[in-house]
């Protein structure tokens, strides 16, 4: 025994004393993980800095993570664009409506699937599972949605992706974990299936429903392709497509090098749009992150 009093007090997981090599590894490991943090965060900080910088500094390639020549013109420009706010409001409306529909459908189906003695249950599960591995594809979906007359309506955005099979399985796993005695007692007390679901099961499922709301809401908030595909009217687009049109316009302008002024305005404007679109997600992220992690775990156990 050498003088290692402090070492012994240190938390130990495996092995009494760390070897020299392992201590070196731990230092390297910390450095590597800090590197991961920097690489992940740098683009965010860079975008924020760009959004606050003066155009000239951006063009000169001098903006890193500190704003140069603090300038809010681009923010003012975007804030005064009525279409941006219209599209932003659309995103909110689509997200709320789509999440509501999704939650109702997913809860109903997951509850049905969680009943082990139900006749035809394997078939009902199979119907959902198969769609995870085989899908109709882009063109038939487009033809279908178009022929249903859903183009340029909110329904094209909120209905075709109403049920996510992954979320369905997560919820099913949760319902299966509830003690069946509760529902049996409810049945004895004369509650029918609807009553049991509404008065007994759902109040016990607040946590999982919150998780599902987050899963769906974030995916609808972020989605752009369905709207891009099915909506032609600009005042019906979500903000993600607004951003998409902005960057698509910017690149075509850049490659053509036609309108120098436009390109210059685009650089900060893009950064500002990115910042304003990401802000809500970043704002709630620290508070909701653990629900996501828990939901994914729950799904993985029974996936």
């Amino acid at each position: 025994m050498v003088t290692l009093g402090t070492k012994i007090d240190a938390p130990k997981t495996r092995g009494p004393v760390d070897s020299r090599g392992y201590r070196i590894f731990r230092v390297v490991n910390t450095v590597v993980l800090l590197g991961v943090v920097v690489v992940t965060l740098y683009p965010f900080l860079n975008i924020v800095a760009r959004s606050l910088s003066e155009e000239a500094y951006i063009i000169a390639g001098e903006v890193t993570i500190v704003p140069r020549g603090f300038d809010l013109t681009a923010y003012k420009l975007l804030m005064s664009d009525a279409m941006f706010w219209t599209n932003y409001r659309n995103t909110v409306v689509y997200t709320v409506v789509a999440t509501l529909i999704s939650i109702v459908l997913t809860t109903c189906y997951a509850y049905v699937l969680s009943k082990p003695q139900l006749k035809g249950r394997p078939f009902l599960i199979g119907v959902a599972l198969f769609t995870m591995f085989f899908s109709g594809g882009l063109i038939p979906n487009y033809v279908l949605v178009t022929s249903l007359g859903m183009k340029n309506t909110i329904w094209a955005v909120v209905i075709p992706n109403a049920i996510s099979v992954f979320n369905l399985l997560v919820m099913k796993a949760f319902f299966e974990s509830l003690p069946s005695e509760l529902e049996e007692a409810a049945a004895v007390d004369g509650l029918n299936t609807y009553g049991t679901l509404l008065r007994i099961v759902l109040p016990l499922s607040k946590a999982i429903i919150a998780t599902m709301v987050l899963f769906y809401a974030v995916s609808f908030w972020n989605s752009w392709f369905t709207a891009f595909l099915y909506i032609d009217r600009q005042d019906l687009l979500p903000v993600t497509v607004y951003l998409r049109n902005l960057i698509a316009g910017a690149t075509s302008a850049e490659s053509a090098a036609a309108d120098a002024d436009k390109v210059q305005a685009a650089a900060t404007l893009q950064a500002v749009t990115i910042v304003l679109t990401t802000l809500p997600i970043l704002a709630i992220y620290p508070f909701v992150q653990r629900y996501f992690v828990r939901g994914v775990m729950l799904g993985a156990v029974k996936g």
Partner: protein, 329 residues
């Protein structure tokens, strides 16, 4: 034990006995559909809307793939006008552009798999060695973040990052190079695409591994230590086998989506200049369908892609069940 309390087991069923007890009380488990419906109709009624959803928005499009074999007129029947057999399949199989985009798909898919599958495992193993709880949680929180961004935002960030005045070119300048318009260069597209995938998915990908790591039996480490195994050997012989089921499951899922390489991201990032490396089956299909309005042709390609995807996931599943005993279902 309990069987001794019961009456002796009945003799093996013979013909007369079966005739004796016709079917007044069928076994509880095998209720007929009528009984099940009478008893559980409320439950079934809850399944109607979701089933309708699956039927209309998932299974009807599968049937709608029939237009790959039929002449389709926009505005006409969603199932097409008349049969043309395998014409559209022959068309794309003899189309050189199709094979180019098919190759691009394989290359991008392989590169993505090569980086985005193992890196989360590595990161999870590194995180697992961190003892300072707060630091670990901080790294996790930060690395999950990109997962929550819209693909549009990620694409916009990639564009800013690789633009002439962006971070990538600042680095190039730092080392004395000339600025490169990265997104206009076909030779850079794969690097940009795979890096952005790594940036976006690796952190979130660790979650399941970190969960699996906590379930590895501590006694196994103890035993390995007594056998004189160092840290590295413990990781190799205890940790990795412990998380193997998770690895295999995720590998199967990754292989299943192999051909569906980030369609949305590529659609946002590519341009005619980078088509030689960036154009993949799904984006080619998209252009065929929506820019050339050749719906049947595009549907044929889509069906081909979906069938290959299904075959890939099924065979990966069979192989893993035979070799390591893990399968999805």
């Amino acid at each position: 034990m309990t069987s001794t309390l019961r009456p002796p087991p009945p003799a093996p069923p013979s013909a007369p006995q079966q005739a004796q007890s016709p079917a007044p009380r069928p076994p509880r488990r095998r209720r007929s559909w009528r009984q099940a419906l009478r008893r559980d109709w409320q439950l079934y009624s809850l399944a109607i809307l979701p089933l309708l959803f699956f039927l209309v928005f998932r299974y009807l499009p599968m049937v709608g793939n029939i237009i790959a074999f039929r002449r389709f007129k926009p505005g006409g029947s969603i199932f097409g006008e008349y049969w043309v057999g395998l014409r559209y399949f022959r068309m794309f199989l003899t189309d050189p552009t199709f094979w180019e985009v098919f190759t691009n798909t394989l290359v991008l898919g392989t590169l993505t798999l090569l980086f985005c599958f193992p890196l989360p495992i590595v990161l999870a193993l590194l995180l697992n060695e961190v003892r300072a709880r707060r630091f670990k949680r901080f790294v996790q929180s930060v690395s999950y973040l990109p997962h929550f961004l819209s693909i549009v935002i990620v694409a916009a960030m990639v564009m800013q990052f690789t633009s002439i005045d962006g971070t990538a070119n600042q680095l190039v300048n730092l080392f004395g190079g000339d600025p490169v318009a990265f997104l206009q260069k076909p030779e850079w597209f794969r690097t940009i695409y795979v890096s952005s995938e790594v940036w976006q998915t690796v952190g979130w990908g660790t979650i399941l591994y970190l969960a699996a790591l906590t379930t590895v039996d501590e006694d196994l480490y103890e035993a390995a230590r007594i056998d004189g195994a160092g840290r590295l050997r413990q990781t190799w012989h205890v940790t990795l086998p412990g998380i193997r089921p998770t690895m295999v499951t995720l590998l199967i899922l990754n292989i299943g989506s192999f051909l569906a390489v980030g369609f949305e991201k590529i659609l946002l990032l590519y341009n005619p200049l980078t088509y030689p490396t960036a154009d993949v089956v799904s984006t080619y299909l998209f252009r065929m369908g929506f820019q050339s309005s050749n719906f049947s042709y595009a549907a044929a390609i889509g069906l081909f892609e979906a069938v290959i995807g299904l075959i890939l996931v099924l065979s990966a599943n069979v192989i893993s069940r035979r070799t390591v005993g893990t399968s999805l279902w």
